[in-house]
């Protein structure tokens, strides 16, 4: 559905900042999250997890646990469906180990008991006999010749011959001749970079309540970014029909990509089937760290050539990502996003998806892109520094525009990178004098965005109000923006509309809330459903007036005759039509079911000022500005919130967050004391600038904003820290020990 230029610029509700409909419930504690649901007679579950990074499961003895009167059932892999293949088998393997435990924390059994304590105690009584196998958790070591093989035969056909079996997918893309490009450069810099795995760090652990009857009918209540996906996967893993399982999404305490995956719901269903009682399963924080997906860790080599006046002549990148014990590390996105901000004649990028003995990585805001930006934008910063060039001017000189051949192939449609760079350049932050001891960093970032399968319904009530049902869990204030778009179309007040995240029995399939798609795709669907309802409203008015439906138009909440030839009739308000709808043709409901494919790509530019204490290695981020293209901001406050959230998470990833594994392959810091996410006192006020270059693929011009905001921070902060420290930081996180080590290496060679 194309941009509606006539509509654009005449908004009455879109672009305003009304209170979010779920706000009061959330601040008063009334909102119900995953762990808040209960059912009469429910049991509580606990999962037995492998303490080993890699081990063969020789025997599982449940007799001691089952001897307890409080224990009602134990499930192991034998209680799940057989014969699954491909991705379905991978999900099952991750949900419940088969022959081998593949990482520290891998589920090997689960128990249901009459209380949470009884369940946890019973889990300790399940005796698992392991044969410990050699393990590997580092991406480069996992690719080495002598690395232990995680799973034989896991590689797909993209992998060239001769690579270690742990390399399971390979990507290569680009155009031009990079060697010729490097020959044209006045300066070529080649360097290597490393990033550690960071967790999405959502505050709410995974939780669910599930019931599965002997006839295969089931119910699941859970916190998830995609309850239709939960339905599909659960049905496969427990061996029933998808339509027989109804899944309801709770309020969600953060997801950021990590709740697009399924971990516990099939386990609770399998326990429920065995006990014929509802089963509640809530992860501890340690389980969240050990057994759900952080992002991939990386090892990257970058080579960029530049002329003395700042033109990039060639860019080349090699990106090695470990994604845990299963295929899926998003190395193709890392490779495709790496040079996307720049118009390059010569570019070549290679990606490796590598398995290791870690939990299966899960999506994390713009999966793969932030790491690429860290490596590429660090080298661009170094080139600018050595050539004495302004970092924003260089980026402007090389920026991708409409018609640029993207580094990953196709030509860009209308995009807003130049506009973000111009806005950053004009921002007072960029021209503010830099105090002694501070470094200033700049970075661009890119993400594709996504549309996906979407279905909504809009039911009008007799009193002239409207109820919108969507299938995309609200992870960022989307219910407010949906109400705004419906209000805009129907011409009734925002407060007269309620948006509900409907369960899987109510709507057609909806893809998960990922890919920054919700405001774009569900919003587009809400607009179309509104227009569908408006067409029906106009039809009812036409019937009342005895004229053709085409002779009626909708204006600001009223059906009106389209001109003198249509007749002279008093306009009919929406409520005038709906109050009699039962007697004039029945309920009026607007529908939209489709797969919108016009999600416009998005760019951002960030500016950071940071101070480094050279005695302790501690970094303070003192000023931060986010400039990003939103296409059209439906609710500017929530757009700004996404910008700030991406920057805040980026600050954590850049400075402190990392998965630390011991020599034994066990995760050393599976709690928020040792895995340090930023708190309010670590952050400056994050300034935001919303740039609006309309997306041609949305009627209002919306582009997704949830992910691009985390693409530039790692690089922008690294550039600021490197400037402040006087030494290039090439490994994340830039924690105090790493900064001190870099300073020491610089001082002592």
């Amino acid at each position: 559905m194309a941009l509606d230029d006539k509509k654009n610029g005449e908004f009455k509700v879109v672009g305003t900042r009304p209170n979010r409909p779920d706000g009061v419930d959330k601040v008063t504690g009334r909102a119900r999250f995953g762990a808040d649901v209960s059912a009469p007679g429910m049991l509580h579950a606990a999962i037995v997890r492998s303490p080993h990074a890699h081990a063969k499961i020789l025997k599982i003895d449940t007799s001691r646990a089952m001897a307890s009167k409080d224990v009602k059932a134990v499930v192991t892999r034998a209680d799940f469906a057989e014969g699954l293949e491909g991705d379905d088998l991978n999900v099952l393997e991750n949900v419940m180990a088969g022959e081998k435990a593949l990482y520290d924390g891998h589920a090997v059994a689960a128990v249901a008991a009459t209380s949470p304590l009884a369940a946890r105690d019973a889990a300790k009584l399940i005796d698992v006999t392991y044969e410990i196998l050699p393990h590997v958790t580092d991406v480069d070591k996992a690719m080495a010749k002598d690395a232990p093989v995680i799973r034989e035969g896991a590689a797909d056909k993209s992998v060239p011959p001769g690579l270690h079996p742990n390399v399971v997918r390979y990507h290569e893309s680009g155009h031009g001749d990079v060697e010729e490009g490097f020959a044209q450069a006045d300066l070529v810099i080649e360097d290597s970079f490393v990033t550690e795995a960071a967790h999405q760090g959502y505050i709410e652990p995974h939780a669910c309540l599930a019931q599965l009857d002997a006839d295969g009918k089931g119910e699941v209540w859970c916190c998830t970014q995609g309850h239709f996906n939960v339905q599909k996967i659960c049905a496969k893993l427990v061996g029933t029909d998808a339509s027989q399982i109804r899944v309801t999404a709770s309020e969600i305490g953060g997801g950021f990509g990590g709740k697009t995956a399924v971990f516990i719901e099939p386990v609770a269903l399998a326990l429920s089937r065995k006990t014929n009682r509802p089963v509640k399963l809530v992860m501890s924080r340690a389980e969240v760290f050990r057994a759900t997906g952080p992002t991939a860790s990386t090892s990257m080599d970058i080579k960029i050539g530049m002329t003395s006046d700042g033109k990039i002549t060639a860019g080349q990148g090699t990106f090695r990502l470990q994604g845990g014990a299963f295929p899926g590390a998003p190395m193709e996105f890392t490779a495709m996003c790496a040079f996307a901000p720049y118009n390059l004649e010569n570019v070549f990028q290679v990606g490796y998806d590598v398995m290791s003995n870690r939990p299966k990585q899960a999506a994390y805001r713009a999966p793969g892109s932030p790491m690429a930006a860290f490596a590429v934008e660090s080298v661009i910063d170094e080139l600018c520094s050595q050539l004495g060039l302004d970092p924003i001017e260089v980026r402007l000189m090389n920026a991708s525009k409409e018609g640029t051949k993207a580094s990953y192939g196709p030509r860009f449609d209308r995009i807003g990178l130049v506009e973000t760079l111009e806005a950053a350049k004009a921002h007072p932050h960029y021209s503010a004098p830099l105090a002694e001891g501070l470094g200033r960093g700049v970075s661009c970032g890119f993400w594709f965005n996504h549309g996906g399968e979407t279905a909504v319904t809009l039911a009008l009530s007799e009193d002239g109000t409207a109820a919108l049902s969507v299938g995309t869990p609200d992870i960022g204030g989307s219910r407010a923006s949906m109400c705004q778009m419906v209000a805009e179309e129907l011409g009734i007040p925002y407060e007269k509309i309620r948006t509900t995240v409907a369960d899987t029995a109510t709507l057609g399939y909806n893809e998960v809330s990922h890919g920054s798609r919700v405001t774009y795709a569900s919003g587009l669907a809400a607009i179309n459903a509104s227009r569908d309802a408006v067409e029906k409203l106009c039809g009812r008015a036409a019937a009342k007036w005895g004229i053709d439906p085409e002779a009626v138009y909708w204006d600001s909440g009223y059906a009106k005759p389209s001109g003198p030839n249509a007749g002279d009739f008093e306009p009919l308000a929406l409520a005038d039509i709906t109050k009699n709808m039962g007697a004039t043709g029945g309920p009026i409901v607007g529908h939209f079911e489709a797969t919108p494919e016009g999600a416009g790509v998005s760019f951002a530019t960030h500016i950071v000022d940071a101070r480094v204490d050279k005695e302790t290695g501690k970094t303070s981020v003192e000023r931060y500005t986010v400039v990003q293209d939103a296409g059209k901001a439906i609710h500017p406050t929530y757009v700004e919130g996404q910008y700030q959230g991406g920057a805040a998470q980026g600050i954590g990833w850049a400075l402190n967050e990392e998965y630390i594994y011991g020599e034994d392959g066990r995760l050393q810091n599976a709690n928020f004391l040792d895995y340090r996410i930023p708190v309010a006192s670590d952050l400056p006020m994050i300034d935001t600038v919303i740039v609006e270059v309309p997306n041609p693929g949305h009627p209002y011009g919306v582009r997704g904003v949830g992910e691009t905001s985390i693409c530039p921070p790692l690089a922008a902060i690294a550039n600021a820290v490197s400037g402040a420290a006087g030494v290039r930081l090439k490994q994340l996180p830039m924690s105090p020990p790493r900064i001190l080590e870099a300073l020491d290496v610089q001082a002592n060679g």
Binding site: F348, A363, P410, D413, H450, G452, H514
Partner: protein, 81 residues
């Protein structure tokens, strides 16, 4: 006839070609023709690909029309977080 640009990692699976011509009027036909004329590409198409049509990335819709002058790029299937 439409010209389909492949990502370079697919070259070895398409007889050394980076561009492949197929008879197709929409994405579904194009992918089916690609898999038929270049069986080495079939596993990748089966695993899922996105298609950029004049710069617009089509992630799912097989009915999207394409024309002889359409710029078509196969890219790896998009997901998000």
């Amino acid at each position: 006839m439409v010209e389909v640009n492949l990502w370079s990692g697919l070259r070895t699976h398409a007889g050394g070609n980076l561009k492949v011509d197929v008879e197709a009027t929409n994405i579904g036909e194009m992918l089916a023709q690609l898999a038929q004329t270049h069986p080495g590409l079939a596993p990748f198409i089966e695993a899922g690909v996105s298609v950029a049509v004049d710069g617009r990335i089509i992630a799912n819709d097989l009915t999207e029309p394409i024309y002889p002058d359409t710029e078509i790029y196969l890219i790896q299937q998009l997901k998000g977080g």
